[in-house]
């Protein structure tokens, strides 16, 4: 009805990591406001690392997330090693990719099978899905476990690993340790290829848009720890230079800072961006799986097809993990020596949910004086809101429950990790009393 406001409020978005809600204001049939409200409390990690040594920082930032702790360690360790000009051994570089493969496998398997698949198959949650499709969910759990085993073997434990150090590792694995993972990973590779076939056939809403996609790009490998920050419109920046093209902004409805590009516009990170920008660097088995789906263009345009992107990356991560294990020879020493130096340490790596940027100011005393951590979910918030505003009119005529479900399903397509996004500290002090006195 003309002149009336219609408000949608999804109070607690389910099947995402963390706590958030969605507020939608529709005025005269058009979406006037789409706000992803992240009310999970700030977690102050940027303040927690102040005064700590680089190696302490690696263990602290891993605690930001129970699903993607490796990503936080990887962005931090590469930032410090870049500043300190540390050259790690090739075996260390390979092991870090293997560790990241483990995290991608466990995170993507969790999302594909337990968080996202129920939407496509018409179930309210993975519990009901598991009751009807027990073998399917059991496959997903086995995939996830294979990833957890890699992280546990390299990192000392499956959640919040503790072995990553500046210059290498606190303890490098023996070849036998990695070979023991092989049977489970061979099965995981087979399951991952099946996953691609299953999810490629899932029908989702025919919603399309033209997002600006951003991911690392490396000419010789699928991006994890190295590469330039690239976009589908020609951006190419070194991984230290995220803040030359992007910046954080605070919005009143979210405890997580949002990010915008230099034009003030949103951009999208994550598996879809990586697949679009880096599909030529996929492992041959993953490239073959992608080609079989013919889904490259739909992954770029339709957010619901992110489930296919994650499945392709499951194939990539399991196949590359097997390759790394087969070629592995332990390094001469777990870590190479290094010397601290003052300056700015910055780097970006590819977390399961997208590009994760860290910047640290290191003082003359070798301690971190200040930190900025920009997680992918925080960066994706604005793009999610923009997509919701575009998509919402198509569901406004539905009953409220159906519209709510459709909007939740769209949000889940981005696999947001709200716990990660609220790590930030934004402290503002007004010295009003002092000013009055003076």
């Amino acid at each position: 009805m003309p002149g009336t406001d219609l408000r949608f409020q999804v109070q607690n978005i389910s099947r995402v990591e963390g706590e958030g809600s969605l507020h939608l204001l529709v005025r005269d049939g058009a979406v006037a406001e789409a706000r992803l409200q992240i009310f999970e409390a700030p977690r102050y990690f940027e303040a927690l690392v102040a005064g700590r040594t680089p190696n302490e920082v690696l263990d602290i930032v891993a605690r930001i997330c129970g699903i993607c702790p490796v990503a936080y360690q990887m962005s931090a360790v590469h930032a410090f090693e870049d500043l300190f000009e540390v050259e790690v051994e090739p075996a260390t570089r390979a092991l870090r990719r293997l560790l990241y493969c483990g995290e991608w496998i466990e995170s993507h398997a969790l999302h594909v099978y337990l968080l996202h698949a129920p939407d496509f198959l018409g179930y309210p949650s993975a519990v009901e899905l598991a009751r009807d499709h027990r073998d399917l969910v059991a496959d997903g759990l086995r995939l996830k476990k294979a990833g957890n085993r890699i992280v546990a073997t390299l990192g000392g434990r499956a959640i919040h690993p503790v072995s990553v150090r500046v210059g290498g590792w606190s303890k490098a694995p023996r070849r036998a340790d990695l070979l023991a993972l092989r049977p489970e990973l061979e099965e995981a590779l087979s399951l991952a290829r099946s996953t691609v076939r299953i999810v490629a056939g899932l029908e989702g809403p025919a919603f399309e848009r033209e997002p600006r996609l951003v991911a690392l790009h490396h000419p010789g490998e699928y991006p994890m720890n190295a590469g330039r920050i690239a976009s589908n419109d020609g951006l190419a920046l070194p991984p230290q230079a995220w803040d030359q093209a992007f910046h954080e902004v605070q919005v009143p409805w979210s405890n997580a800072l949002q990010s915008r590009d230099s034009d003030g516009l949103p951009y999208l990170l994550g598996p879809a961006a990586r697949i679009v920008l880096d599909h030529e660097q996929l492992h041959p088995l993953a490239r073959e799986a992608l080609d079989e789906t013919g889904a490259l263009e739909s992954i770029r345009r339709n957010p619901y097809r992110s489930i296919v992107a994650r499945a392709i990356e499951l194939v990539h991560a399991t196949a590359e993990a097997l390759d790394i294990i087969d070629a592995y020879l332990p390094p001469d020493a777990p870590a190479v020596p290094w010397q601290s130096r003052p300056g700015t340490a910055a780097w970006a790596t590819e977390a399961p949910r997208g590009l994760l940027f860290h910047r640290y100011e290191v003082g003359d005393d070798g301690l971190v004086a200040a930190a900025t951590i920009v997680p992918p979910t925080a960066q994706n918030q604005a793009a999610i809101e923009a997509d919701i505003a575009t998509f919402a009119p198509s569901v406004l005529g539905l009953p409220i429950d159906a519209a709510t479900h459709a909007l939740e399903q769209l949000i889940r397509s981005y696999d947001p990790c709200i716990s990660c996004a609220t790590h930030f500290l934004d402290l503002s002090i007004h010295h009003e009393a002092t000013e009055l006195v003076s």
Partner: protein, 165 residues
């Protein structure tokens, strides 16, 4: 001498470096030396920083499990014992802290469906006061640790009696 196979899997959740989240680890560390060798032979201790579906699915048929965690939704220091199905049913009011990726009712519900039933066992929880990274355990939870140990011992005894029956 051949040891008896463990028949009770003790899934100890939480992180020692997150305040009261480490209460289960502290309780088990103090509890184990106090148990008889015969009882300890029945136990397999597994640390689960966060309880995963696979932690429950992997409990073999014929074995039981006790999940031990710090919870919110009850008074700090208060100890509760309940069955796993009861925990799933009451997840909205009594929430274990160590379940990040999925809420506890979904962890248990998926495990039940995949496994074909939950293993016999129990959940033992202690109410937590604070969980900040790098914080000590609160006074009230430290005071509740003996009760937590006693509740775990009772849960073990109950399962061993059940086993004999």
């Amino acid at each position: 001498m051949t040891m008896a196979a463990p028949t009770i899997r003790l899934l100890v959740c939480g992180s020692a470096d997150r305040g009261d989240d480490g209460a289960p680890l502290a309780a088990v560390a103090h509890l184990l030396p106090a148990l008889t060798a015969a009882v300890r032979a029945h136990l397999e201790i597994r640390r689960c920083v966060q309880l995963d579906v696979s932690d429950i699915v992997d409990v073999p048929d014929g074995e039981a499990c006790i999940v031990l965690d710090t919870v919110v939704g009850i008074e700090p220091g208060e100890v509760v014992t309940m069955s796993l199905p009861e925990l799933a049913a009451r997840a909205a009011t009594i929430t274990p802290r160590s379940s990040h990726a999925l809420p506890i009712d979904q962890v248990l519900g998926i495990a039940e469906a995949v496994r074909g039933g939950l293993p016999p066992g129990a959940f033992v929880g202690i109410g937590g006061h604070w969980f900040g990274f790098g914080t000590m355990r609160s006074r009230v939870v430290r005071a509740g640790l003996p009760a937590l140990q006693a509740a775990v011992t009772d849960a073990i005894d109950a399962l061993l009696v059940l086993e004999k029956v």
